[in-house]
Symmetry: C2
Subunit: 312 residues, 2 copies
Amino acid sequence: MSAHIAVDVGGTRLRAACYREDSLEPVRIEKTKTQGGDQPALEKLSSLIRDIWPEDEDVEAIGIATPGPTNPFEGVVYTAPNIEGWKDLHITSWFEEHFGVPVLVGNDANLAALGEWQYGAGKGHHHLLYMTVSTGIGTGIIANDQLLLGVRGLAAELGHVTVDPNGPVCGCGQRGHLEALASGPSIAHWVEQEIARGGSSSLPAGRTLTAKEIATAAHAGDELSKQALERAGMYIGMALVDFVHTFNPSILIIGGGVSQSGGLLMDPIRACLKDKVISPHYLDDLTLTHPAFGDDAGLIGALALARSHHKD
Amino acid sequence: MSAHIAVDVGGTRLRAACYREDSLEPVRIEKTKTQGGDQPALEKLSSLIRDIWPEDEDVEAIGIATPGPTNPFEGVVYTAPNIEGWKDLHITSWFEEHFGVPVLVGNDANLAALGEWQYGAGKGHHHLLYMTVSTGIGTGIIANDQLLLGVRGLAAELGHVTVDPNGPVCGCGQRGHLEALASGPSIAHWVEQEIARGGSSSLPAGRTLTAKEIATAAHAGDELSKQALERAGMYIGMALVDFVHTFNPSILIIGGGVSQSGGLLMDPIRACLKDKVISPHYLDDLTLTHPAFGDDAGLIGALALARSHHKD
């Protein structure tokens, strides 16, 4: 038997897991915090990989999901938010030297799309869009049975598409991006601002809120929180209409914590798609659904990437 | 020797041309007006094809470029603006029955991208975006050496991506699309409105203007016309930034009559790309250029499509 190792690098958590052929259940999985301690993140990852390395099986390849812009062809992480020192990091060669097996790397949202397509909600589709709405908005595209990567692997950064040129400034520094309008922190920030302006809400004024608090308040009947989720859903819906015109996919997979807010978020998305496509044929075969793998999207994606490696 | 036939269907002009292997110079080419006369467009096209049919060579395949949303997999033109009766038209089976050779069809902007990639400005690139800015804004994408088509061939309708949700209504009925902000008629309409509001210009008030008049006036120093082209360039640039984040291409090919307005249009495009990409790596390998085939883009694209047909 042979095995593959999947590694998920997050801003808060690092995970490594070992999988036998044909299984999505890890034989062994270990995790640790990204921040804190004396070890740099690369060393922590090496420890995790050593911990889960199988005793009786050959490791065919290691797949790594990274949270920032990454060049999968050269195995370079350009930057990784919240991870000190990860700049132009040659991550595949580093791990290949340490472990002596092929190492592949990809952006986590791209790999989540790959995982959903191979093993999850997108099985059997040839044209797929995956979006996770969470602290940020990450996306991955399968076009004609291939992961859309572009010349340096920087394609499918749809969280940074401009939805409203007069909108708020995004974490990246540009204005009006989808992420600046509909990510968890953006939703929370909008509610904070509305409360500061005197808007009525069951939520407290004067402190930082979370999207989760807002979803809870919305479901308890708070009108401002409802409005915040509907507004985010409308922006996501507007962006998805653009992406449907761009990719003509047969499935949209919307995940991430914010997507669990239910109809308040999803109804405006459905309404936008129905009202704003330029031809009803875009909707003929279009499925709108949630991912099969929630928190494990990056890990399963890294596994799909590792398994895509073919021996020379 | 064998030959291929390329057919370009436009709202104003129909063309058919016959090409020998390995040549981009037609052996014979014929054209006629789309509108007027007693014959419907399909009959006119059949006559053109008969006129250019080679006497001494076998025709391997016919490629057809159509101006509206088209399903290349089923050979169906969903609609074609300005051509009466073209709705859900099974165009490939119609011509296959008439001529007894394989017939392939595609949207003209998609095929123009294919033609530029195979024979023109995009040769050797693996990730390409083609845009024509004219009466409308049409686009075609090559992603990873494949034409981006989506599940029904409706992908790459980037003229109908929303650039400003508060912008003017588009010909398609939706609001704020790139085409509604930066196509030739949209540029002209903006100038007409500004003049009607009392804006100073060398152009006359109270009549319909053309983008060509505006380009001429701009080059003669008319400030309002300059502003109109710069404004369109800015919107095209903003959209291109989104598309660069979406596709991470290595080449942007901008064609169409409006793109010949020179620096007034192209400078804001270059400035947007420089100022608004979220990582400088998007620009590392990016070429911004004009197409090799102007008016012949659709025809050369239809030829590329016909030549892509492989005998079973």
